[in-house]
């Protein structure tokens, strides 16, 4: 057991650090004096910066070399992420594409698809979004209703709605889970598609949240035409393909949980700025509890990394780290607002933004309740909740739901 770099890892780190030292002046400035303010300029600058990071081998580190990656392990990617954070420059813009959707294409895509899309994705030339969740299909993702119907010539027509879509407003493509056979069982009639976001019939609308800002979008598809070769992983195999994406989502969360900025040092700084609060036993007790949990999650991430390095796939228990992070950050927001008073809720306060952002984040990637069910069943081996949707054609299931409502 050792948390230090091996000599090879240390050499990798030195190389990455040297490149960042030389090129960090080219990174877009997003905070503080001289920060970019125009949304389009920010996106353009971050895409260009992603291209430089990819060119230098700091992005897509675990991707195979033939698709522009480095063919290295997860540790080397984490070293790059750590050094990027240390240099105080932004990371890649398309973390969802490079971290989750690209690896899904690598696992399930055709050679033509990989050759056409992966390079442009990695370099930020084409940003991708994940079109999985729907208003009535979130934690129960296999309940998606977006409908793709195959035409006589083999092409498809797609109609439906997706929601909670990060980056959709500037994405070139999306990976979309649709129902292609309504008479098959719930998990069987699904197919994964890649969808050009500029296709006629696609409408992206910002979804404003508690903060007033639109961190997500809703996306509408009105009889959108898709080519026959837009299918990823085969017709009817959409659920298996989606599970691959969700596995990479867990890996991404497991390796980068603290990247959200919910870490013990940042919260301690907010309390330390108030000398009176710093000596208040009740404030200290709460800070100590929050910080201990968040420190634990950092080391849970290292455990996940160790498993990945040994060729093991992290299980759903990595999701418990998300529960700890989100609830720890909610608790921290409460504590900081108690200490700072109404100032914490001021318009420009970073804490007001965090406090507003967290209630929704609690359900991101699946609600805490469903996550605890899944972990109880898959990790602890507890008997499943009785289900009423197994072995029934999706069309019948919908008819039953409609009759009850």
């Amino acid at each position: 057991m050792d948390l230090d770099d091996t000599p090879e890892q240390a050499a990798h780190r030195t190389k990455v650090r040297a490149w960042l030292e030389e090129h960090k002046s080219e990174a877009p400035v997003l905070q503080g004096p001289g920060a970019l303010t125009d949304e389009d300029e920010i996106i353009a600058a971050r895409r260009a910066w992603q291209g430089k990071l990819a060119e230098a081998g700091l992005a897509g580190v675990t991707w195979p070399k033939e698709y522009g990656g480095q063919g290295l392990g997860p540790i080397e990617q984490v070293i790059c992420n750590q050094e990027i954070a240390r240099a105080r420059v932004p990371g890649i813009l398309d973390a969802i594409g490079v971290g989750m959707l690209g690896p899904t294409l690598i696992a399930h895509g055709t050679e033509e698809q990989k050759g056409r899309y992966l390079g442009a994705m990695l370099h930020g030339d084409e940003v991708w979004c994940q079109l999985f969740s729907e208003p009535a299909a979130g934690s129960d993702l296999a309940a998606v209703q977006a409908r793709a119907r195959q035409q006589d010539d083999g092409s498809w027509r797609l109609t439906g709605q997706k929601v909670w879509t990060t980056n959709a407003q500037f994405s070139a493509y999306g990976l979309l889970l649709a129902r292609t056979d309504i008479d098959a069982h719930k998990h069987k009639g699904l197919t994964m598609f890649l969808v050009p976001m500029d296709a006629p019939g696609v409408t992206v609308r910002g979804l404003r949240q508690i903060s007033g800002e639109a961190e997500f979008n809703e996306v509408f598809f009105d009889d959108v035409a898709l080519d026959a070769d837009a299918v990823v992983g085969g017709v009817g195999n959409g659920w298996g393909t989606a599970l691959t994406t969700l596995m990479f989502e867990r890996v991404t969360i497991g390796l980068g949980g603290e990247g959200l900025g919910f870490n013990s040092a940042r919260f301690a700084q907010a309390i330390a700025a108030d000398p009176h609060a710093s000596r208040d036993p009740e404030v200290r007790r709460q800070l100590g509890e929050i910080a201990a949990d968040l420190l634990a999650v950092r080391f849970t991430g290292y455990r996940t990394l160790t498993e990945l390095q040994r060729g093991q796939i992290p299980g759903p228990e990595a999701g418990l780290a998300k529960v700890t992070i989100v609830n720890g950050a909610i608790h921290a927001g409460e504590l900081i607002a108690d200490v700072q008073g109404p100032d914490a809720l001021g318009e420009d306060s970073e804490w007001a933004y965090m406090i507003s952002f967290l209630p929704g984040l609690k359900s991101a990637g699946g609600t805490e309740e469903i996550l605890r069910n899944t972990i109880g069943e898959r990790v602890l081996g507890l008997p499943p909740e009785p289900r009423l949707d197994k072995g029934i054609p999706f069309s019948e299931l919908r008819a039953k739901e409609a009759a009850k409502a």
């Binding site: 057991m1 230090d4 540790i75 040092a265 509890e289 418990l320 507890l382």
Partner: protein
Amino acid sequence: MNLALSDEQVFLREAARGALSRFKTLEAARDALDTQGGTPHGGGQAGGKGELPDLWPTACEAGWPGLLVDDAHGGADLDAFDAMLVLGECGRVLAGVALLGHLPATAILSESAAPAAAALLPALASGEQRAAYLPACPPNDVFDSWCVDPLHGSERPAPPVASAASEGHVTVSGTYAFVPDAPGADVLVGVALLDTPQGTPHGGGQAGSKPVGVAIKAGGEGVSVEAIRRYDATRSLGHVTLNEARGVLLDTPVDSLAAAWHLAQALLAAESIGAVETALDMSVAYAKERHTFGRAIGSYQAVKHSLTEVLRQQENGRSLLYYAGWARRGAPGEFALAAAAARSVAGHALDTAARTMISVHGGIGATWEHDAPLYFRRAQLSRRLLGGTGAATDRVAGELLTQAAQAAQAA
């Protein structure tokens, strides 16, 4: 970066599990409560059955007493994480092995420059003699003085005072309360405040005193060890009262004296997480087999969610054991933070696990015959020893606030 256990560590853990499985530790724990009047409100049978098994010979056979002692002095030259693996196994079966007292004492002696310390080590490494650590809590960012656990109440007194005697020796007077594994120990090793007329600028102690390491023969004149039993019969405790007791002045750096406290916190955290594992395993097994309203109770969300909450706290605790186990040598500046965080999370996890275990079992979980009350008793006492989990939680805050203030100054 690699948090996997080495083959040797897996072997150490499996060997510990095997060695302890030869004893019926849980039955003995219950019997000992009956025998030794561990039931403050009655309920035990006077003149009951058993004694706790003596696990020290097993510990000696396995080489545990010398885990933290170097080769040259007859030890295994291993580190905190290895010792924590063994404590975890002890915790799983509530085995009372006197390592919580012994190991921090050997750590202090190992970092002492006094020849007398080196002379003590071989017999302690083999287990021929047993040491107990006299715990003293190092200062934090709010209270700049050392303190010890009180006999009663919440006010924490300063450690006993050492006065210079002949060259390399001191006489020590004062009390250490609730010292783990003190009854039956041969040597007492810990922190006292050296009475110096003008004080020292770098000692970190109060004016006129400086924290020093001392080693005292338990059978010597002026040494009284009163065996104390509180609530959990598996936990051997003693009040140590010194009245001008003669001891060796250990030339140990103040940082090492503080690190012994942090080590004790980390060991107790590891022991607690071991107990959590068993409590969770037993709760899950019962939730699978017990049926109500026609289905296993583990299929109900309310039960499932409370058990995943135990799992969440257990895994957080386990992650911090890695941090603490690595930090003692890998990042000594973070050892206080890591050990305090581990203690804080593990103490809370054990309380949650024990209470959940009782709830999942329903009424039977609260009966004398069941094992759940033994884990519950372990949880309640453990959280109040060695400063208590509250002090550990406060130290997490203190360490981070100090770091934050330093970062703000540097910026």
